[in-house]
Symmetry: C4
Subunit: 284 residues, 4 copies
């Protein structure tokens, strides 16, 4: 088990080549946000844009269109219940993040199924929030899932639902066993978040704190992971996940020096400045 430290930041956050354009930094599709949980997908999308992805489209309920555009006009929109538009958006995405605020109703299940059917292994799929809960109840999705090698970002209760392991039973050995069966990366969110990589290695976070215990924090983490993956295109993409997870908590730690509780929107507001500070020195 490897405890993550700040070195991961400058290994991953590198200076951009002059000859590049927005396409160079990835197209991200976010899918989620029903009427009840719209803030989740908005925060995830905003985190993606602030962390530097090139182009981001948010597939969500029409009820969330105006709040999305007001908070982050840089995002594009499609209605998530238009199957035609969703399939089209999937086909042009490099990274797909599904789940924040998606809900677990019939519509949500149908949307998730559409993604699993149309995503391809060359795309990176991140499965968060309600989408994890849906998959836990729909084992028929597993064959589709395995070939996509997705990244799951469950909190402990969601991991219990997905893996069948009770929170008290969740240890590295049992977690790894189930994660390996999933052929997926698992970012298990908790006090000292643990990342189970597909190659069997385990990364652990030793930073972050209870000032982060507030709704929307996981959506923001999922967004930073997506934003990092969109632009930092390493073959060993799991180091990029490590860096994103570390950055999320490192930003929160900084803010917590001034604020009793750290809100997701506080983190989003600080991503750009944080990343600038950690650009690999030899690239400055």
């Amino acid at each position: 088990m490897h405890v993550l430290n700040k070195n991961i930041l400058s290994q991953i956050i590198t200076a951009r080549p002059a000859e590049s354009h927005k396409g160079s930094y990835g197209r991200v599709l976010t899918v989620g946000g029903n009427t009840q949980f719209g803030g989740a997908i908005i925060m995830a999308t905003s985190a993606i844009i602030h962390s530097g992805a090139g182009l981001s489209t948010c597939a969500t309920s029409l009820d969330n269109l105006t709040a999305l555009h007001t908070i982050v006009p840089e995002a594009m929109f499609i209605p998530f219940d238009s199957e035609y538009k969703l399939i089209d958006a999937i086909s042009s995405a490099d990274i797909i993040l599904v789940g924040p605020g998606l809900g677990v109703d019939e519509n949500a299940i149908r949307i998730l199924q559409t993604i699993l059917q149309h995503a391809i292994p060359q795309q990176q799929l991140i499965i968060d929030g309600s989408a994890i809960t849906i998959i836990a109840d729909h084992h028929e999705f597993f064959p589709l899932l395995k070939k996509l090698h997705p990244i799951f970002t469950p909190h402990q209760m969601e991991w219990q639902r997905l893996s069948g392991l009770k929170i008290s039973e969740q240890d590295d050995i049992k977690n790894t066993l189930y994660q390996q069966q999933l052929q997926a990366t698992v970012v298990l969110k908790k006090n000292h978040t643990t990342i189970y990589h597909r190659d069997g290695s385990i990364s652990q976070l030793a930073i972050g704190g209870p000032y982060m215990a507030t709704g929307g924090m996981g959506d923001t983490l999922a967004g930073i992971i997506a934003g990092f993956l969109a632009q930092f295109k390493l073959k060993n993409y799991e180091y990029v996940v490590d860096a994103a997870v570390y950055a999320h908590s490192a930003i929160a730690d900084e803010i917590s020096k001034e604020k009793y509780v750290v809100l997701p929107t506080d983190i989003i507001a600080d991503i750009q400045v944080f990343m600038k500070r950690w650009v690999a020195p030899h690239n400055k």
Copy 2:
């Protein structure tokens, strides 16, 4: 009568244990905000989230969804006129705040009745704004109320309606008499707000000022009370109310050094930093 001083802050605002998650800091349900008064419930909900509650759901008019999410995407939403969803949200809440911008029409009365029928004594109910006016007119709600030991947050005119005491007659003896009959905590908002506790003790505020005399200030206070109760779980919960009331005015006092009038949204923006400054030193 006890005059509140700054010591109450570090007694209540304590460092968070590392082993905790958003559920540890409470689930709050806010209910209010018709089409006319939507800002009230949005400000209350935003105050709750900025003061550190773990998870907040706002039951309000669909007309307020987008402004809610834009101002505070961390909040979840349900339409307050869906009785089914409201009952479901009540059942999973630790704290329920009803009243800001609720109005007094048939719909508002029905919503309040649903809450009184489904809330249980283990939940903390806070009754503010129009909900106080409704109760003043609906004495049939009193039996339901008494077993819930709610916190009322009336201004003087609302207290007149509820207690029958004219503003000129409102003194500690008469107020206590009626408050004890209600089996409730009463936060009587005025120049030098007075808090009547269930054990008969009285706390008085000696800070705050006329720069706070602006619409929405009470909604914000109710939100801070709810946010504090959600996370600071003392058996003597009324000290937590004291701390919230004190914090609200102490923040305003600070802002008033720079601004002629202090707006509710100014207070909300400063809660996190203020709380950080008053964390109990031994916990730092």
Copy 3:
């Protein structure tokens, strides 16, 4: 003719008495904002709230509800095409500002007529923007107007429409003549805005500048006038108008040291701090 100077600020902006509440600082009703020009009434209402009025209700198109609440959740709302609600709101207002973004269609004319029929001389009526244009075309409104002694805030073209005086003809003598017939205060907005008072005195602004030449600036001025009148209740209310007009341009002058163009929303953001700096020293 009196050239306004900074002394007017500390004469009018006085410390608030401790024993006061939001009702002490006035209830303002703003009326305007059709679908095309919604920003105007939102900026006016926001200026009112930031300048310290106690309670503000905005009667506007339902299309503007969400932007209003997002920008200034402290405002209350009524749909301006509900005659019943409008009459009710008029009856409880101390100050009525009509016109910003109202438009000149049938609906706008009907709304203006409702106000003129239901407002009473004890209320202060401010007539701005499209409402001035409507009145210029509806001389049948003049008898209703005269008994209300309104404040008009035209720019030069609107004053031409209202008075019949071409811009090239507009001088103090001719302007006064027509203004006296109107039995109104006229704030004639131009480079060096001139205020024609009902007692025949004339105040002139010598500050401000072309960095203020941007859409919405007049709506914001009308809002500050309304906000000042709501709370500073002098018998000689026209000094309050002088102070508001001076404050609006003085804030812009300060901002212009840092910004090439000064936006209305920039001014609104600075009102509270500006007023604090000019509170009468003996009241500090």
Copy 4:
């Protein structure tokens, strides 16, 4: 070929004459923003207003009204699918910017055609984003276009569509040849953006960087060009375009010292302060 340097800023950004009003700084009409791409036209309009245009109206989908007003209440609105209102707005505009987020569907084509039919050579037309793609597919619009001498702001792929020149073939000689046939100014957006002027001269940008490679950056540039043209009325308007293009990247360069990626909304927030710093010294 002329490499642009900072001198262009103080040549163009001049102090405003005291005797001026919002009409002096131009009326701009922006047209674009379907439901999917609403943020684009909102950012363009906001850039125009922050760069100092006198009056701005945004013709867009009704779906974008509230986000527009929340982000920039200084803007006016018309629904872009009302042909009657669009023609009316065209007739009163000094500058027309069409394309950001317009899309390429039937409705978009009809809107663009309306503009081309009703705009006159005395107005300055800027054609951006999807409108360029539409024109590439509708050669029947060319006769209308040529007499309007528009400014095109394509990125390299859009220029390929319009000119038929593959990106690898695009050099100054071939670009100039096609641009001269169009009788248009072409701002070719890329690493080191190149501006092809109607007089055959070529300006090149040597600043800016890959931190600008994010969605919405081009919409913001188009807005700054429109805002500059609205107020800086030189006979040689193309110097104004040079200054706008330079300013856009110079602002980004400054922000990039603090932020890893520069968002369009970051640039918009800094325009006013940037312009103030570069006002021609002799005019200060």
